[in-house]
Amino acid sequence: MRKGTYRSLLTRLLLALALVGPTAVAQITVTTTNAPNENVPEEVARHQQLLEEFAELRPDVRIEARQTTFDRQTFLAKLAAGTMEDAFLVAFTEPQWLIDNGYVADVTEYLQAWQHFDSFNPEALQIVQDEQGRLYGFPVGGYALGLMYNCKMFEEAGLDPMSPPTTWEELREVAKLLSDPLRGRAGFAALSKGGQGGWHLVTMIYSFGGDLVEQRDGRWVATINTPEARAALETLKTMRWEDESLTQQQLLEVRDVLPLLATERVAMAIMAGDSLRSLKVQYEADMDRFCLGPLPQAGGDATLAGGAAWMFNPRSSPEVLQAAVEWSLFQTFEAYESDLRAQAARGQLVGWPELPIFVGEYQAIRDEIIARYANAPIENYRPFLEATHIRLKPEPPVEAQQLYRILDVVAQAILTDPFADPEQVLLRAEREFQTRVLDQLP
C-alpha cells in the first residue's frame, strides 16, 4: 500500500515536471548592466514597465539587469571568469579597443534584422564597426559638451541668462563676477579626476583649436604640447590662482560637481545635456534655474561629441545574444513613446538636448514624439541649440581613456599647484602618452 502511494506520488511528480519542464528549460536569461537606480523609484518603475512590455513580445526571455556599469578595471577579469553581463553599455571611447582585441561579439545579423536598421546614421555606426564593416553593437545616443549655468544667478548678477559667455575670456569675467567666497560660491568648477579631467581638458583644447594625436606614416604621434593646449591651461591657471573664481576643493568628477550646481555653490561648469536629467532625478533641482549654452571658444569653434553604445559578450550563446540585442533595441528605441509618456507622467525630465543618431523619416518621428512629451524648459537651452556654428569633434581616435587619465594629471597640476608650468606639464604628459601608450600599440 505504502509502496503504491510512493509510486503514485513519483508518477505525479514526473508528470508535473514534464509539463513544467519545457517552459522552464526554454527560458532564456539575458543579463545586462545599467539596472535602474534602486534609490530612485521613478527609474525602477520605468524599468518595470519596459520589462512588462517586452515580455509580451518575447515571453521566453527573462531580463536580469544588474546594478553595475561597464568598468575597464573589472571588465577583463569578469569576462575571463564568465561573469560579464551579456549586454553592457560603454562610452564611445571603448568600442575600438574592445573590437580590436576580440572582447565583443559580432551581432551584425541580429542588428540588420531590426526594422529600423537602415535609419541609423552611418557615421554613428562607424563607432561600433570593424574594418570589414561588421557590427559589434549600436549607439544609443550622443551628446555634445556645453556650458551648464545657473540662469537665476545670472539674473541676480544683472546678466542676460540668454547670452552666456561665448569665449573663454568672457567666461573668466562672468566667473569672477559670480564668485562669492564668503558664501562658499565659486564661479566655475573644473574636473580633474577619474579620467574626467582629461575628458574636459580635451574639450577645452578643441575649443582653442588644438588636437591631441595625429597619424604620421601609419604611426600614432602624441601632439599634446601645443600652443592651443598651453593657452587653455593658462586660462584655467589664471582663473584658479589669480581670479580665484574656481572651487577651493579640487580633484572633482561630474558626480562631485552636480550637487555643487544643485545647491548653488557653483555657477557654471562644462556638462553634457544628460546631466540636466541627473540634476532633476538625483538632486530634485528646480530645472527652471538651469540653462545650457555652447562651449566657450577661443578660435577652435569646436566641442567634443561623444555618446554611449550597447555592446555584447563574445562568450554568450547565439540565442542569448539575439535576445540581448532585441532587448537592448527595444528598451532604447522601440518603447520610445510609451517610455517618454511614462517618464513625463512621473515628472522626470524629458526633452534635454541630445544628438540625433538616426536619419530620415524615423528620426523625424522620434523628434515629433519627444516634442509631444517634452517638459524640460527647452527655452533655457536655446543658446546651446542655436550655436550651430560650433563643430562636433569626436573623442580622440586612439586610447582615449588612457589619454584622459594622463591629462587628469595635467589638470591636477594646474589646479593644485600655483607654480606649475603649463609647458613642462604638457611636455611630460606628451612623453608619457607616447612612450607608455602609443609606442606600445601592436
Binding site: R72, A77, A80, Q249, Q250, Q402, V409, T416, R428
Partner: protein, 311 residues
C-alpha cells in the same frame, strides 16, 4: 644501516619491520590530515598565485586571448616608465614619513598609558578605537577633516589664526596628509604590542633605580627602552614592510594625485593591471616589490630568531 634492515643475502629474513618513513607517516598522519585543509587553501590562494605571477611577468596576457612569451620586455617597459621612479620615490617618502611620524607615536603613547595609575583601561580603548573603525569610515571622516573649505583641520587652524592648508589638494602636502591619517588609523594596534612588552618589564628594576635616585627620564632611558628594544626593532622592520605596501589610502583618498604625488608602487601596479589591462607589467612590478620586501622579511626573521634565542 638500511642494508641491515633489508638484507639481500639469503637465509632467514629477520622479522619484517615497517620502514621508518612509513612509521613516521603513520605516527604523524592525524597531524598531516589536520594540516591538509590549510595546505590546500594556501596552495590554491597563496602559492599558486605567486608562481603564476612569476610566470605572467614574462608573458603578454590579457586573460582572454592565449598568453605569449615576451622575455624581459615587461621589465624593460616598467623600467622605462617615468612613473616607475616616481612611484618608488613616493613609496620611500611615505615609508620615511611613516617612520618619522608614526614610529615613535605608539611607543610614547604606550609608555604614557603604562605610567597611568587611573583610567588606564579607558585610554587603552580610546587610543585603540581608530583601529576598530572600518577603513571606509576612516576615509569619509578624513575627507571631511581635510576639506579645504569647511573641513575640521582648516577650521581649527582658522580658530588659531593660522593660514588654512590645502592638505590633499596640493602635491606638496598630500603625502604628509595621508601619513597623518594612516598613523591615526593604525597606531593603536602597535601601541598595544608595546604596552604588552612594557608590562613584561620587572617592577624590581624600576624600584632599584628609584632607590638609586634615578629620575623619570633616566628610568626611561636606562630601563624601559633597553627592555623593549627587541620589540621596537622587530616592529620597525614590520612597519617598513607594511608601509611599503601602502595602497588603500592613496587609492581611495587621492587616486594617486594630485600630479602623481601620492602614486605608490602598489597603486602603479594596480593601474598597469586594471586600468591598462597590462597584467604582464603588473606582475613584473610585483616581482620587483617582492624582491625588496623579501630582503626586509629576511631581516625580520633574523631579528626574531636572534631575540628569541637571547630571551
Amino acid at each position: 644501516m638500511r642494508r641491515e634492515l633489508y638484507p639481500t643475502t639469503t637465509g632467514a629474513r629477520p622479522t619484517q619491520r615497517t620502514p621508518r618513513w612509513r612509521r613516521a607517516l603513520a605516527h604523524n598522519l592525524p597531524a598531516y590530515l589536520f594540516l591538509l585543509p590549510a595546505l590546500v587553501i594556501f596552495a590554491t590562494f597563496s602559492w599558486y598565485p605567486i608562481v603564476r605571477g612569476f610566470i605572467i611577468s614574462f608573458q603578454r596576457i590579457d586573460l582572454i586571448n592565449p598568453p605569449t612569451w615576451v622575455g624581459l620586455r615587461n621589465f624593460e617597459f616598467i623600467l622605462s616608465d617615468p612613473l616607475f621612479t616616481t612611484a618608488w620615490l613616493n613609496t620611500l617618502y611615505f615609508t620615511l614619513l611613516g617612520l618619522l611620524l608614526g614610529y615613535m607615536v605608539p611607543v610614547i603613547i604606550a609608555i604614557a598609558v603604562n605610567e597611568m595609575r587611573h583610567a588606564q583601561g579607558y585610554f587603552r580603548l580610546a587610543f585603540y578605537l581608530p583601529v576598530i573603525l572600518p577603513p571606509m569610515v576612516v576615509v569619509i571622516l578624513w575627507k571631511w577633516f581635510y576639506d579645504p573649505g569647511p573641513g575640521l583641520m582648516n577650521t581649527v587652524l582658522r580658530l588659531m589664526d593660522l593660514p588654512p592648508q590645502p592638505w590633499l589638494q596640493s602635491p606638496r602636502t598630500a603625502m604628509f596628509s595621508l601619513v597623518l591619517m594612516s598613523t591615526w588609523a593604525n597606531f593603536g594596534g602597535t601601541m598595544l604590542l608595546y604596552l604588552a612588552a612594557l608590562q613584561g618589564i620587572s617592577a624590581q628594576l624600576y624600584e632599584a633605580a628609584e632607590i638609586d635616585g634615578a629620575n623619570l627620564f633616566q628610568r626611561l632611558w636606562h630601563i624601559t627602552l633597553p627592555q623593549i628594544r627587541g620589540v621596537m626593532l622587530i616592529l620597525l622592520v614590520l612597519q617598513i614592510i607594511g608601509t611599503m605596501q601602502v595602497f588603500t589610502e592613496p587609492f581611495v583618498m587621492t587616486g594617486g594625485g594630485p600630479v602623481n604625488a601620492t602614486l605608490t608602487v602598489l597603486l602603479l601596479l594596480y593601474r598597469y593591471a586594471f586600468e591598462q589591462g597590462n597584467f604582464g607589467a603588473a606582475s613584473a612590478l610585483g616581482l620587483i616589490l617582492f624582491a625588496v620586501l623579501a630582503f626586509f622579511s629576511m631581516i625580520y626573521l633574523w631579528l626574531t630568531r636572534r631575540f628569541a634565542s637571547s630571551s
